[in-house]
Symmetry: C3
């Protein structure tokens, strides 16, 4: 038996779990701006980021935690760095306020579909009272 | 003394350890499709991925664990996304069955040698019985 | 209350913490070769790497640990792979001697500013005596 817990509501159909938990750490899969209900992606980069964090937040809720417990996030973007940085500044402020986690941000050639311009990977903690 | 254990069978000659362990977490170095015995790399992308997971599995065995305990993997690919995605779907199915870990997949400009078209980075757990 | 500790000496002004700690793990934000005191970046890639590790080392010191306790590092570079690899070989040897951590190295399209040619992301442990 593994001590890794996987959150895979699609029961293997995606080929990856939405997140894995080990101890009090949750590793979320790289999330894009996909709006799952409609299978659409916003055109605007900031809106893609907002949707990605919303997707991540919903996954973290499965483990009883939230974006407030983000340890680190890695932002992989496609396209020009200044636009990505501006969008990220706005959306991170909305998402994390003045208590932002560690961050890494790099430009990549492409993501798994051309409609995705950003993919965000979060490691979060299951919140404690310590 | 550090509480980080490094698995470095090459005793410093590579400039990196194959993996590091801290507590029950194993962080494996980004692995390519290199067949170490022959210093060759398969041409086919899916075969490069198979070899990378084989390399990772051998490293995890050093810590008494296996790919079944993968927490997350990040797949860095070079070249077109559709081909990478198709190869990844097939090889992840072979490797993880219906119990796949969290995943992130991004296209990069190049890896450390041009013959490598994929590099896979795994974080795994040392298996428990819980 | 979160059990994630963030090291953010800029008190929210950067939009990210320099590092987050959970338990005995420290996740440092991707660091570049920025010389903070002068807001300059060395031209030479190896010098950018040296400065990035110096920046990381200073952050780790906040948690009473050091680069010697690095678990893994990911090196994101811009430009040609052979030059990046050569610089990395030299600087990792200087930084880690014969006891290097797990490593992943990939080429990216760009970093958050064009003057940065390398960004290094470290996960480290808070040193124990075990």
């Amino acid at each position: 038996m593994s001590n890794v817990d996987r959150f895979d509501p699609f029961e293997g159909r995606l080929g990856f779990a939405l997140a894995s938990r080990v101890g009090s750490l949750v590793f979320v899969s790289g999330m894009t701006g996909l709006q799952i209900a409609t299978d659409t992606v916003p055109n605007d980069l900031a809106d893609q980021m907002r949707q990605a964090y919303e997707n991540i937040g919903r996954i973290l809720a499965h483990y009883g935690t939230s974006l407030a417990n983000t340890i680190e996030h890695t932002i992989f973007f496609v396209g020009a760095a200044p636009a990505a940085r501006t969008a990220n500044d706005v959306v991170c402020r909305e998402t994390f306020g003045n208590d932002a986690p560690a961050a890494t941000m790099v430009g990549v050639t492409m993501l798994v579909e051309p409609r995705y311009h950003v993919e965000i990977k979060v490691v979060a903690a299951i919140g404690g009272s310590s």
